[in-house]
């Protein structure tokens, strides 16, 4: 095995993001092809430049990436559909990145897209008896993890609500987000209880949408000044003994893990990139439910366990804070088209690192980190740098 940082540098040359929301009249491949066209234009490339494609989605049936690509070009390239729940988009990016780093290809497309089933997210990532028993990820299992987290840290329901308020405030400046209206602390606290202690406005909405990135080697870039480097792209799966609510797994009482799945993905990303939490200027966190943004920040190493809520209260994670988190509104504002979410985060990081984020632009962002996780379980961490 080589170290990935001994391989060649890999860049995001172009990004493409569709409007996210509910679009009854459009099919998944409509979103997907639109994101591809946009990413190609942004990269100043044509379809014939693309040598391979990785397409992430969850609910779209067979050959879904091909369906989107069929609207753009038919050039015989390898197209591989990737499914990794809420990290499907980040998994596509990781494969594209590895292909370019290893010099197997020079220019690769990473696509994530979804037309979501309506209502809460159905999941088959459970044993049939677990599903029949009501042990379901959205939102029961997250609720259980939140109960434990609140007991261990003293985090309150109001702390949770503050995450929603921050993210919806950011989302109000994101023209691609499903929800572009801020909410107040009172709105959140008054929303209906879904599964104690999680209320409706603690849980991200769904959405349809797509996001794409053209990934390439340095010599293929049309514009070096707008390019963003992939410093790390990591995905991990379940670690023995780790309690993984998204997968319906209770932690082992006898053999708790030394390093959990999320911490492992962060460690690997810091190791390969050479950056540490102290080097990160901006974060796209995983707020599928708002408490997971808080414990995510802790497990990613930005603060100690139980400290995230206090830092949030102090404004550290605001747009103008020391470490802005979910500058595009996060899943809470964008909505959550499962296969697209990971690459949606990448689009925001690239936009911020390029200084092209308009009203929601943060100051001096040079290194950004995105984190997603989901059923399986999996955890993905990407680090980008300008």
């Amino acid at each position: 095995m080589k170290n990935l940082n001994e391989m060649r540098e890999v860049y995001v040359a172009g990004i493409g993001l569709t409007q996210w929301g509910f679009f009854e009249q459009q099919e998944c491949y409509d979103f997907g092809s639109e994101a591809i066209f946009k990413a190609l234009a942004d990269a100043e490339m044509g379809w014939n430049d693309i040598q391979a494609a990785f397409c992430g989605s969850v609910y779209q049936g067979t050959a879904s990436g091909h369906q989107a690509i069929k609207e753009v070009g038919l050039t015989g390239i390898p197209v591989i559909n990737v499914e990794n729940a809420c990290s499907s988009g980040s998994s596509s990016l990781r494969l594209a990145y590895l292909m370019v780093a290893a010099e197997i290809y020079d220019v690769v497309l990473a696509l994530g897209m979804e037309k979501m089933p309506r209502g809460p997210i159905p999941s088959t990532a459970f044993r049939p008896w677990e599903l029949a028993s009501g042990f379901n990820i959205q939102v029961g299992n997250y609720a259980l993890e939140t109960v434990e987290y609140m007991r261990e840290t003293g985090v309150t329901e109001e702390d949770l609500a503050r995450v929603t308020v921050k993210n919806r405030k950011n989302g109000a400046m994101n023209p691609n987000a499903r929800f572009q209206k801020p909410v107040s602390l009172e709105d959140v606290m008054a929303s209906r209880m879904v599964a104690e202690p999680l209320r409706l406005l603690h849980c991200c909405p769904l959405a349809d949408g797509a996001a794409a990135a053209v990934v390439c080697s340095k010599n293929k870039l049309k514009s070096l000044s707008r390019a963003v480097k992939i410093a790390a792209s990591v995905i991990t799966s379940g670690v023995y003994g780790d309690g993984m609510p998204a997968a319906g797994i209770a932690s082992s009482l006898q053999f708790p893990p030394e390093v959990g799945i999320l911490e492992l993905s962060a460690q690997q990303a810091y190791q390969v990139s050479g950056y540490g939490p102290e080097d990160i200027d901006i974060v796209q966190g995983y707020d599928t439910t708002v408490p997971s943004e808080l414990w995510g920040m802790e497990k990613l190493g930005f603060c100690k366990k139980g400290e995230a809520a206090g830092l949030l209260r102090d404004g550290k994670f605001d747009l103008d804070g020391d470490l802005p988190v979910n500058t595009d509104g996060g899943l809470m504002s964008r909505g959550h088209p499962l296969g697209a979410t990971g690459l949606g985060q990448i689009c925001e990081l690239v936009t911020q690192l390029r200084d092209e984020a308009g009203a929601r632009q943060v100051k001096k962002a040079r290194v950004g980190l995105a984190h997603a996780m989901g059923a399986g379980p999996n955890s993905s961490v990407t680090i980008l740098t300008r």
């Binding site: 809460p120 159905p122 999941s123 599903l131 029961g140």
Partner: protein, 144 residues
């Protein structure tokens, strides 16, 4: 198994033993003879995920445990897989065998299930299937 005249069918075979005059029902799990890890449900291949060996034996789990977390789910889970009542409570139950498991928690008042409190295994109907049979499952219920 119960006082009703309806046919009762377990949600899944092999999850528990029926009660006897000497005691109530027990969950059937696996225990590793090498490392001592305990699993529920029983792992049919006998493979210990923790120590990576074929070293599991079947055991009956303790019918009592401690509720370490609980939530009350107030909307039906997505996907159409769940046919039981809503709202319902479920949580994490720590057994003295050294195992934490996920289980529905049944109680007269779902809103006052005591976290940290003792709970006991019961086998209860979860729902009635289209043929009118009662589908039975394991749950834990708080004890005083």
């Amino acid at each position: 198994m119960g006082e009703s005249n309806q046919q009762q069918v377990p949600l899944k075979e092999g999850f528990w033993t029926s009660g006897t005059p000497d005691g109530g029902p027990r969950l059937i799990g696996s225990r590793c003879t090498n490392c001592g890890e305990v699993y529920f449900p029983k792992k049919p291949k006998g493979w210990c995920l923790h120590c990576q060996q074929q070293t599991l034996e079947e055991i009956l789990l303790s019918p009592r445990g401690r509720i370490s977390a609980v939530t009350v789910v107030r909307q039906p889970p997505a996907g159409g897989f769940y046919h039981g009542p809503v709202p319902y409570a479920y949580g994490l139950v720590d057994l003295s065998d050294g195992l934490r498991l996920v289980s529905q928690i049944t109680a007269d008042d779902l809103d006052s299930i005591p976290v940290g409190g003792e709970a006991e295994l019961v086998i209860k109907p979860l729902y009635q299937d289209p043929e009118g049979r009662e589908i039975m499952t394991f749950m834990f219920t708080p004890v005083a």
